[in-house]
Symmetry: C2
Subunit: 294 residues, 2 copies
């Protein structure tokens, strides 16, 4: 399959859906709507929504009824970036090569834009999905909230912050990442599997895929931060090192980190073994993580 | 009926439910859990959750299955206070007579505590409620998200911020309040009515009650800010005036503002006319708003 074409098609689908679902920018409060669009429509690979759709496809489900839910994942991801970039947090001026929300607007607007996006995500997530039992959808939304919250992403952000200027062990670093980035990625894949009508075994396999994907994602992100150039990443390379933050590279070295990532990718592919070619996009996506680092 | 006893009983019920539902403070990240508890368990009247329960009672519904949903309203309210108090927003040091979250902890922790509470609110709101059709519950959660978000509370916060140091007209001020505080209060009442199994007419009547309650709440809050003492309010009186913020008192004068509040209370009571004594708590609650200002 042609992965880059698949990704490009899906990205456009997600961006069109976001455009259709977002309140019009002319609607008051306009400054808040503008700030939301600045961050939400400012590029990005749309990885999490694409994972929702690809996981649904892998279990033979329809994808278009899942677009609002997929967009909810992007809203949660974007809100977390907006708040993470704030002066009191990572204090970043650039994101995807453009001014961060509080730089383009102001801090208060950025806080509220993040709050609005997080709230909007749940408005989208509870939209009835054609063919899905509302009781099952509520369970999926509960899982999403759990993965995005104190026992998932927000908890991971807090752990990450507390870990700054402290030397983490590898298991500690792993624990931060499992929460900070892994939980939402796994949640996207699991949601796609369940809303797409996956069997219990299929869903379990995709959960395993999701966990391995999340770790591979973080390790390769660390490698890119160490060796990648700022243009590709849209943010300043070597950021983590400057902040004395532990990373897979600082703990393992680049070569060993690459090994570790490759082993996670193998695990993810193994989890997909029982699936037909309908899972090819998921196969391509996890292989791509590794390819980026070469 | 003995309103203060009713309120005290309900307050304890809600606080016990919050205590039971919250993650234990020993669980990592402990600092985040401590910050959440500092703000969530730091007093407060628990008005919004009590409104959920009282509205369910008014339509003859059970209240105890609604406790998690009622607690979700308190989580949303508390997160909004934490973020509103931040230096980039209202920059308040005291809340309910205690240090605000960013003062007791730090800014980053306060931002994350707010994010965690907002996310947790939706985790609670989608918990299956015994006797309620999941499809109806999803509609109620969607309405809650809308009322808490850009077209409701968050939008209202933004309008409020933009209005600082600018002279608002009365309709403009009304519009800010309908969004900033009114939307969530109305949402609590409407959710109680729908989850409690209210008829379409009963629900419509409670919606009218909720809108009038929200306005009465805000006008009487303005009056208390003007004439009340800091002890009763747990925050500094005259805050709004110092900030050159328009208020019902600055626009109408205290006497006329009291008239306006009384008229809203009458409207709320009229909306309750078709209801039996099961709506007495709602009747008492809205009368109480006015009594506070004398």
């Amino acid at each position: 399959m042609d992965l880059s074409r698949y990704l490009e098609e899906r990205r456009l689908l997600v961006e069109q859906a976001l455009e259709d679902l977002l309140p019009p920018v002319q609607r008051p409060p306009q400054r808040l709507n503008a700030a939301i669009r600045h961050s939400l429509m400012g590029g990005g690979k749309r990885l999490r929504p694409i994972l929702v759709l690809a996981a649904a496809e892998a279990v033979g489900g329809q994808t278009s009824p899942l677009l609002p839910f997929a967009c909810a994942m992007e809203c949660i991801h974007t809100y977390s970036l907006i708040h993470d970039d704030l002066p009191a947090m990572d204090d970043d001026d650039l994101r995807r090569g453009r001014p961060t929300c509080h730089k383009a607007f102001d801090e208060a607007t950025a806080i509220l834009a993040g709050d609005a996006l997080l709230t909007f995500a749940f408005e989208l997530a509870v939209r009835p999905v054609a063919g899905v039992d509302p009781a099952i959808q509520m369970t999926v939304v509960a899982q999403l909230a759990s993965d995005a919250g104190i026992h998932g992403m927000v908890g991971g952000q807090m752990m990450d912050m507390e870990a700054e200027n402290r030397l983490l062990s590898l298991p500690e670093l792993q624990n931060v990442h499992i929460h900070k980035t892994g939980a939402l990625i796994r949640s996207a894949i699991l949601a796609g599997a369940r809303l797409g009508g996956g069997s219990p075994e299929g869903t379990r396999a995709l959960k395993r895929y999701g966990e391995a994907f999340g770790l591979a994602f973080q390790i390769t992100d660390d490698i890119l931060d160490e060796v990648g150039d700022s243009l590709v990443m849209g943010k300043t390379a070597g950021n983590d090192r400057k902040r004395n933050k532990a990373s897979y590279c600082s703990l393992l070295g680049v070569a060993q980190a690459r090994e570790e990532a490759a082993s996670m990718v193998r695990e993810a592919l193994e989890a997909l073994a029982p699936f037909s070619s309908a899972a090819d996009p998921l196969r391509g996506l996890v292989r791509m993580l590794l390819d980026r680092t070469h």
